[in-house]
């Protein structure tokens, strides 16, 4: 077992639309360690979401290789992909993507439904996670009755409930004010402390600065990939 949870080599991806082909990822090499917290930055259209979709097995890549937890992820059928996603990956989205007619607890519990966990059990587990997010008393509220920060914390709880190895967050604070963004980042850091790797796509420096490593994308290639020294500093300060 190697120490990397995600290993990407010479990854290429094009979107083909009829006769048009848009080459979005042009040879990405990337190695994320277990338990690492990394941010991916880059201007709009640079291919961040495309990369994250491939890492989340929501989309296929054209060339190169991708290993998740040392498993070579190739073109696979949807059933297999769904099972891998359920087992290894938690998603956090900018727009939360909660199911509107399910209450907070049911939303959090949903991944366990697909693991065939009984309703009683999965609701109990969901309550534990809501407790961790400080949302126990909101368990029976619908998403529409909650603030943005609360919704994102529910989404994080949902991502965590299946005990994934890595959390992929696409601009998780993009729809939140700076105060709430910081709260969400605190939660993500706490989650990271438990050993779960986190990849955050963001274009905010404030956010990126709170991660251990910052990868910058530009026009489908990695422009820079370096350890974030301010993160260490901040940690030292806190200690």
């Amino acid at each position: 077992m190697s120490n990397s949870i995600i290993r990407v080599e010479a990854l290429h991806k094009s979107y083909v639309n009829g006769s048009n082909s848009l080459h979005v990822l042009k040879g990405i090499d990337m190695d994320i360690q277990r338990g690492e917290m990394v941010s991916i930055m880059g201007s709009s259209g640079s291919g961040k979401s495309t990369l994250l979709n491939i890492l989340g097995i929501l989309d296929n890549y054209d060339a190169g290789s991708y290993h998740l937890d040392d498993i070579h992820i190739t073109k696979m059928n949807e059933t297999k992909a769904a099972q891998y996603r359920n087992k290894y990956i938690g998603f956090v989205f900018q727009s939360f993507n909660l199911i509107s007619f399910k209450n907070a607890m049911e939303n959090v519990a949903l991944p366990l439904y697909y693991q065939k966990v009984s309703r009683k059990k999965r609701n109990n587990v969901a309550m534990e996670y809501l407790e961790r997010m400080g949302l126990r008393e909101w368990a029976h509220h619908l998403p529409s009755e909650l603030s943005g920060g609360q919704k994102q914390r529910i989404a994080i709880a949902r991502a965590l409930i299946s005990k994934p190895k890595v959390i992929l967050a696409d601009e998780p604070t993009g729809a939140l004010d700076s105060q709430t963004s910081m709260e969400v980042m605190e939660i993500l850091k706490e989650v990271n402390q438990t050993g779960i790797a986190i990849i955050i796509v963001t274009h905010e420096n404030d956010i990126a600065n709170q991660t251990q490593r910052i990868i910058r994308l530009r026009d489908g290639v990695i422009e820079s990939n370096h350890i974030n020294h301010s993160f260490k500093l901040e940690s030292v300060e806190v200690n």
């Binding site: 979709n53 989340g56 929501l58 989309d59 949807e78 059933t79 769904a82 099972q83 996603r85 359920n86 087992k87 998603f91 989205f93 727009s95 993507n97 909660l98 199911i99 509107s100 007619f101 399910k102 049911e106 949903l110 991944p111 439904y113 697909y114 693991q115 065939k116 009984s118 309703r119 949902r158 299946s162």
Partner: protein, 429 residues
């Protein structure tokens, strides 16, 4: 054993869990689900009502046959309509006791047989000062096994009556009521055409409370009323229960009588044969046809329902693209999405169908109750339309139909749902 039970219980719990998950999404679209289900409910409702009505008509038809054995054959003499072996047409055929004896002896396949002699129409029957005119029929004891009548009191004509030419009579309840008022009829004497007969039995006709039959032993009737050895007609039952075999026996009888009375077997007017089983089966065939027609209409209505459900489900799936995308992102397999949509459409059609079925059955039940009440005062309804009901078999067939309908309706939407790509579904906001 215990582990089996636990396993079953576990699966039942999971089943509830599963239904709960389906219901949670349907709850959101309650009104639409109801609207959609309506056409299916209507289809099943129509089916049940029409099938029930078909049964009602059939019950009415079959009631007409209750006073005759199902495999009875009756033969009336007629007039020849073809020249035969040098004999001119237009001869009338006359049955005699000889026909009866020979048929009984020579022909196989006959169970019970009786000759029947009608006395000149409307003979006066008198008891003390009461009298009225009725048709008097003279028969053999077996007659009661051919024309089915209930013995209310006493007995029917027996073989001793025939052998000893006893002057006994069996009367319909209606006649008894009119002649005897309060007097006990058994053992009393009534005058028939001026001759005394002792009443030995009281009858009622199962299809007609008002029928007025006065029945004498055949031998007595022939002797007393100058009947010689003549018979008005012949009635018999066969030993077989299929139309084919009965038709076969009928042909043998026709051939036998044709030879004896010297007419052509193709002569349709020399004798008239009423084959009950054939008529019964023909009538039943008509109802089978009606039933088939009803199923076709019902199924077409339900197909319209299926298309409706399918359309709505497609719209629902489209509206739920994002939700389904989310589900897939967090681990829903395509199959689980297919199941989700299929079970929803199944649920809609099943519930709607059940409602339609219950409504239909309810209305049939009410109609049946009303008809029973009407029949208590007015018998004629029984011959036309009675006890309209959809039986268990129909309910089962309808249920199977519903399940198939639900699955069909869900098929296209389910495939659409399974084809949803999470990245595209999650893209828009």
């Amino acid at each position: 054993m215990l582990s089996d039970t636990v396993y079953v219980l576990f699966n039942i719990l999971k089943m509830f869990d599963y239904i709960e998950e389906i219901l949670s999404t349907l709850k959101k679209n309650k009104l639409r689900a109801v609207m959609t289900g309506f056409s299916v409910a209507w289809g099943i409702f129509m089916l049940i009502i029409l099938l029930g009505s078909g049964n009602g008509l059939q019950n009415g038809m079959e009631f007409n046959f209750r006073n005759i054995a199902k495999n009875a054959i009756q033969i009336w003499p007629g007039r020849t309509s073809e020249n035969f072996e040098g004999l001119g047409k237009g001869r009338s055929v006359q049955f005699t006791n000889e026909d009866y004896d020979l048929m009984k002896r020579e022909l196989s396949g006959i169970d019970d047989i009786s000759g029947r002699l009608y006395l000149w129409s409307d003979v006066a029957i008198t008891f003390e000062k009461q009298y009225a005119n009725y048709t008097v029929t003279c028969v053999m004891p077996e007659f009661i096994n051919i024309r089915l009548m209930d013995i209310v009191k006493g007995r029917f004509i027996n073989h001793m009556d025939i052998k000893e030419n006893r002057k006994v009579i069996v009367l319909s309840q209606t006649i008894v009521d009119m002649l005897f008022k309060e007097t006990e009829p058994l053992g009393e004497y009534v005058k028939v055409g001026g001759i005394y007969f002792q009443v030995v039995g009281v009858l009622s006709n199962p299809t007609d409370k008002n029928s007025k039959d006065a029945i004498l032993p055949l031998s007595t009737g022939q002797r007393v009323f100058n009947g010689a050895n003549r018979l008005s007609n012949l009635a018999l039952t066969t030993t077989s229960t299929t139309v084919e075999a009965n038709k076969q026996i009928e042909e043998e009888i026709r051939g036998f009588l044709a030879k004896r009375h010297r007419f052509s077997t193709t002569d349709q007017e020399a004798i008239y044969v009423w084959n009950t089983l054939e008529s019964f089966k023909q009538a039943q065939g008509v109802f089978a046809g009606i039933r088939m027609f009803v199923w076709v209409i019902g199924i077409m209505t339900i197909i319209a329902g299926i298309v409706g459900v399918s359309n709505i489900m497609i719209i629902l799936v489209k509206e739920r693209t994002k939700e389904i995308g989310i589900r897939k992102a967090i681990g829903a397999t395509p199959w689980s999405v297919v199941l989700l949509v299929l079970s929803e459409s199944l649920f809609i059609t099943a519930v709607a169908g059940l409602v339609g079925m219950l409504f239909g059955m309810g209305i049939l039940h009410i109609a049946s109750t009303v008809l029973t009440n009407v029949a208590a005062t007015n018998e004629t309804i029984r011959f036309i339309f009675y006890n309209p009901s959809a039986n268990f078999g129909v309910a089962i067939s309808a249920t199977v139909l519903l399940v198939v309908a639900g699955l069909l309706a869900g098929f296209i939407p389910a495939r659409k749902a399974a084809g949803i790509k999470p990245i595209e579904a999650l893209h828009d906001e």
